[in-house]
């Protein structure tokens, strides 16, 4: 790795660092934006899915005759109608339409395409399914016990089809136990670490189910043309990966699949995987030869979209009397649910927090993700890091207390610094961690408030105040979950100096479109009105891994800058050839080609004049960016990202000890974001992330009992509403990352990550009671204060 590039902190930008409104906002605020639900495709049929009414059962028979006979019904399909279907998902253990067994209540058994949604729904009610119940396993610990009923005992999958290419069919082989995935990582020697410790503590933590609750429910529109080419209107966050997956599923060439992403009503990681409704809509379209639109109800969204991974975690930590961390040993059990999606792979991120948020010489980490009959977990903003940070930061407080240090000094003593390489092999080239800690603590008056609150714990007033601190480390420079991370850009400048930026990156509301436009216009000396961003059509835009892992600004931004610089070089060399001035002396500014202060040409005019030059060339460039960081090896050593984001958040709470209500009053955050590119946009990301973290900590709880979601609605699944939001004080630490686009790092996930951890520490500060299980809903907190909330136990079979 070469020496990090230096980024100038203030080169006199005209657009970057400013408060730039989002380019898509005017349409959205006027009701003009058409989401997938709003699209009308001529001749489209409407599809609905029949889901299992049993948590775990054999399907004895499915009777669809009456449904097929209903007027207006075009097709009713079951697994028998699509013998060529293949398993989907991260472990390819999930058939879109279930054959002989349902493994969770959400399981898809049949689907209907009809003239209207009402007819499709009426047809579902006419389908008769006969089940033979199987033993239900909804506790991950039970699922691990020897002799536990198996969720995937036999192979399932394709059983031969003319649609499939050579090599097919592909089936899931089945499993002899319920372990879906395991991860193990170690550095140093735990025994040695423990021997050198003055204090050793151990706790068990339990993290609950939450779900994304995108305001726009899931939906897809599938249509085949007569040549068998598939056009998919999809909310996916990873269109290019899904092209390939759908192609495999259908046994067709990926080149024959075009994915268009209409504006999306929220993503947050929920749309990184293929879920059965998408192939099912495609199957129906193929069978009916009609476009098929499938849109969820809100209840369906709660039942059949992914969750954050629930985790049971045992953490042992040690330190010396002087506050130096000595070791950390972690074992976790992930409830995978019935199928494997990205949730199972969150240990990638969790182990980074365990090993490298603070300096720990000896570290051991083990995870098992276990099949149960519960809903299955996907990826969700923060990707395991909320869970890991919750445990680690609780122990940072407890260890500090045990050695008589304040929580801030203890953290500062163990915090990573710029230039360090963690034992896991992560290179922290830019690292504002200590500034984050110091800034958040100072701006919130953390130490004084913490001492004052502690002193008041015994006061008669039933309403207590508390303050808590927590920090986080997260990928901020892409994520090499796949062998390659990168993003293509095609940049076209027309002869009126209007730029069309075609990027592989997806806008999902986060504002990437606007940031990319800013980066390009800054480079080309043009106003924002001079750019059109095209970012939602796989037939037009170049490849990209997808929108996740806080990577878009970093990866797509660097790619866009690269394309803009190429265009600039072309233009300036043409000017140089025309005028004889050296290209290095020329620049693009305010729509002109300038030499110093002298305006040589208006850019559009110069480009038009190229029409008449000897080698007429409209400006069109392509660029592709792959950050040159180290890859992780099979022992998980190395970098997964070209840069890392840091943050500290201080949360102030009020705890009503007579009701258990916890109110989040204020969040003081300090975020190392590399550089602020769009101040308005980054504030929006941070504020939204804080409130999402608040929901995870305090209000949101997807209640799953015996495999049944008990609260599939916004009445009882409580998102934070406007009156509940805390005061927010956010400071940006600009460390000017050498690899980042103009120094910026990713930030999308960071603000949600440490809220729950900081709130837990604040409750402990307010009441003296430490709760190691989320969420902090009133009854749970009240029980804890009364000593009636059993602590989570680690009784997991080895």
């Amino acid at each position: 790795m070469a020496e990090a590039r230096k980024v100038e902190s203030d080169p006199g930008f005209s657009l970057l660092g400013k408060r730039i409104p989002k380019l898509d906002a005017p349409d959205k605020a006027s009701g003009n934006t058409r989401y997938i639900h709003d699209l009308e495709v001529p001749g489209a049929l409407h599809a609905k899915i029949l889901r299992s009414s049993e948590v775990h059962a054999r399907i004895r028979s499915i009777e669809t005759g009456a449904a097929r006979a209903l007027p207006g019904v075009h097709a009713v399909i079951t697994a028998a109608d699509v013998p060529w279907q293949r398993p989907i998902g991260v472990a390819k253990d999930h058939l879109p339409l279930k054959t002989d067994r349902v493994r969770s209540l959400r399981d898809e058994i049949a689907a209907v395409a009809a003239d209207t949604e009402e007819i499709a729904e009426a047809a579902l009610k006419l389908i008769r399914v006969e089940y033979e119940p199987l033993p239900v396993i909804t506790d991950a610990v039970e699922a691990l016990r020897p002799g536990a009923p198996l969720i995937h005992p036999e192979p399932h999958g394709a059983n031969g089809s003319p649609h499939l290419k050579p090599g097919a069919p592909v089936a899931f082989a089945g499993k002899a136990d319920n372990v879906a995935m395991t991860f193990e990582y170690a550095q140093g020697d735990i025994a040695q670490g423990e021997a050198g410790s003055d204090v050793v503590i151990e706790d068990v933590f339990r993290l609950h189910y939450v779900t994304h609750c995108c305001m726009g429910v899931s939906g897809v529109i599938a249509a085949f043309d007569p040549g068998g080419n598939l056009l998919l209107h999809s909310n996916t966050q990873v269109p290019f990966l899904h092209k390939r997956e759908f192609a495999e599923l259908l046994g067709i060439d990926p080149a024959r699949i075009r994915i268009i992403q209409p504006p999306i009503g929220g993503g947050f990681g929920s749309k990184l995987d293929i879920y059965p409704f998408e192939p099912i809509a495609i199957f129906l379209a193929r069978i009916t030869k009609r476009p098929v639109k499938l849109v969820f109800t809100r209840e369906e969204e709660f039942l059949a979209s992914p969750t954050r991974q629930p985790v049971l975690m045992k953490l042992r930590s040690g330190c010396r009397k002087d506050g130096t961390l000595t070791f950390r040993e972690v074992e976790t059990l992930h409830d995978n649910g019935a199928y494997t999606s990205w949730g199972a792979t969150t240990p990638f991120v969790m182990m980074q927090t365990i090993s490298s948020l603070y300096r720990v010489p000896h570290c051991k980490y083990r995870t098992r993700a276990v099949y149960t009959n519960n809903p299955y977990a996907g990826s969700f903003r923060g990707y395991g890091n909320l869970q890991a940070t919750f445990a680690v930061e609780a122990h940072m407080d407890k260890l500090a207390e045990a050695v008589g240090m304040d929580g801030l000094a203890f953290r500062l003593k163990n915090a990573q610094e710029p230039g360090e390489v963690s034992p896991q092999g992560m290179h922290f080239r830019s690292c504002g961690f200590k500034q984050c800690l110091a800034t958040a603590a100072e701006r919130s008056d953390f130490l004084r408030k913490q001492a004052a609150n502690r002193a008041r714990q015994g006061d008669p007033d039933p309403v207590k105040r508390g303050v808590g601190i927590a920090s986080m480390l997260h990928v901020g420079g892409g994520a090499k979950i796949y062998p390659s991370d990168g993003c293509g850009t095609i940049l076209k400048i027309d002869d009126f100096a209007h730029v069309t930026l075609m990027t592989g990156a997806s806008e999902i509301g986060q504002g990437s479109e606007t940031v990319l436009a800013q980066l390009v216009c800054e480079e080309l000396g043009l106003p924002l009105s001079a750019v059109t961003v095209v970012n939602n059509d796989t037939d037009i835009t170049p490849w990209d891994v997808g929108v996740h892992a806080s990577r878009t600004t970093f990866i797509a931004g660097n790619s866009a800058i690269g394309a803009a610089r190429k265009a600039k070089d072309k233009i300036l060399s043409a000017v140089s050839a025309r005028t004889g001035a050296p290209a290095e002396a020329l620049a693009l500014k305010d729509g002109f080609i300038v030499r110093g202060e002298e305006k040589l040409f208006e850019l559009g005019k110069f480009l038009r004049s190229l029409h008449f030059s000897e080698k007429a060339e409209l400006v069109m460039t392509t660029h592709y960016y792959e950050p040159p960081s180290h890859h992780q090896d099979r022992q998980f050593r190395g970098d997964v990202s070209a840069a890392y984001a840091w943050a500290t958040q201080v949360c102030e709470v009020e705890v009503d000890t007579q009701t258990g209500i916890v109110r989040l009053l204020k969040v003081t955050g300090a975020h190392d974001v590399g550089r602020v590119l769009n101040r308005l946009g980054i504030e929006g990301q941070i504020e939204g992330g804080i409130v999402m973290g608040q929901g995870y900590a305090i209000t949101e709880n997807l209640v799953v009992e015996n495999g049944v979601v008990k609260n599939p609605n916004f009445r009882d699944y409580k998102l934070v509403t406007a009156p509940e939001i805390p005061e927010m004080d956010v400071t940006f630490i600009e460390t000017m990352d050498g690899e980042g686009p103009q120094g910026a790092k990713g930030v999308g996930e960071a603000p949600a990550i440490c809220i729950a951890a900081a709130v837990a520490n604040a409750i402990a500060n307010a009441t003296g009671v430490r709760i190691t299980a989320l969420p902090f809903t009133p009854e749970r907190v009240y029980r804890a204060l009364k000593g009636k909330l059993p602590s989570p136990e680690w009784n997991v079979p080895a």
């Binding site: 408060r19 409104p21 989002k22 898509d24 906002a25 005017p26 349409d27 959205k28 605020a29 006027s30 009701g31 003009n32 934006t33 058409r34 989401y35 639900h37 709003d38 009308e40 994304h212 609750c213 995108c214 305001m215 726009g216 429910v217 504006p263 999306i264 009503g265 929220g266 993503g267 947050f268 109800t297 809100r298 999902i508 509301g509 986060q510 504002g511 308005l680 946009g681 504030e683 929006g684 504020e687 939204g688 992330g689 804080i690 409130v691 999402m692 609605n713 916004f714 009445r715 998102l719 934070v720 509403t721 406007a722 009156p723 939001i725 927010m728």
Partner: protein, 164 residues
């Protein structure tokens, strides 16, 4: 229940006669019969506010209202609001204050805000938060929405003569 009901009402300033199934919601009528897709389905239970419209000046969840109940009334959706000076001022304020991310909740909140500002001129931040307590937003954390509403309230289009 298969019979249809003919209703006669004003939609965004234009008189309309429409035949609707008796159990149809106002939301379904607007979106599916009349093609006004700015009003969104978020939950169908009045918990999220994405389907907020104004009926005789007051905001309601159109998912909880029977389409037939629009008969004789004055209905305003985001499309109609956006074409007015107040709607433009609100949209501008939402844009400038960064109150829009995925944007799915935005039309409902803009409609709710238009009524709130008219009825509560000069409202405090806490009052504005209560004013949009029936609108869920998953992206923004609400702060910028509150700022946008506060700022729009001081726009001249909302000063004097405004009424709910």
């Amino acid at each position: 229940m298969s019979a249809r009901v003919e209703i006669d009402f004003t939609l965004n300033g234009v008189r309309r006669k429409v035949e609707v199934p008796p159990a149809m919601s106002a939301l379904a009528m607007l979106r599916d019969l009349l093609g006004l897709t700015g009003t969104k389905y978020g939950c169908g239970e009045g918990e999220c506010g994405a389907c907020t419209i104004r009926v005789d000046g007051r905001t309601v969840n159109s998912c909880l209202m029977f389409a037939a109940d629009c008969d004789g009334r004055d209905v305003l959706t985001i499309e109609g609001l956006a074409a007015s000076a107040q709607g433009e001022a609100l949209a501008r304020s939402f844009v400038e204050h960064g109150a829009v991310q995925c944007g799915f909740c935005t039309p409902g909140i803009v409609v709710q805000a238009s009524q709130f500002i008219a009825r509560h001129p000069g409202a405090s931040e806490a009052e504005i938060k209560r004013g949009i307590e029936g609108n869920l937003c998953r992206c923004t954390g609400y702060r910028k929405i509150v700022e946008a509403i506060a700022n729009a309230g001081s726009d001249s289009t909302f000063q004097g003569g405004a009424h709910g």
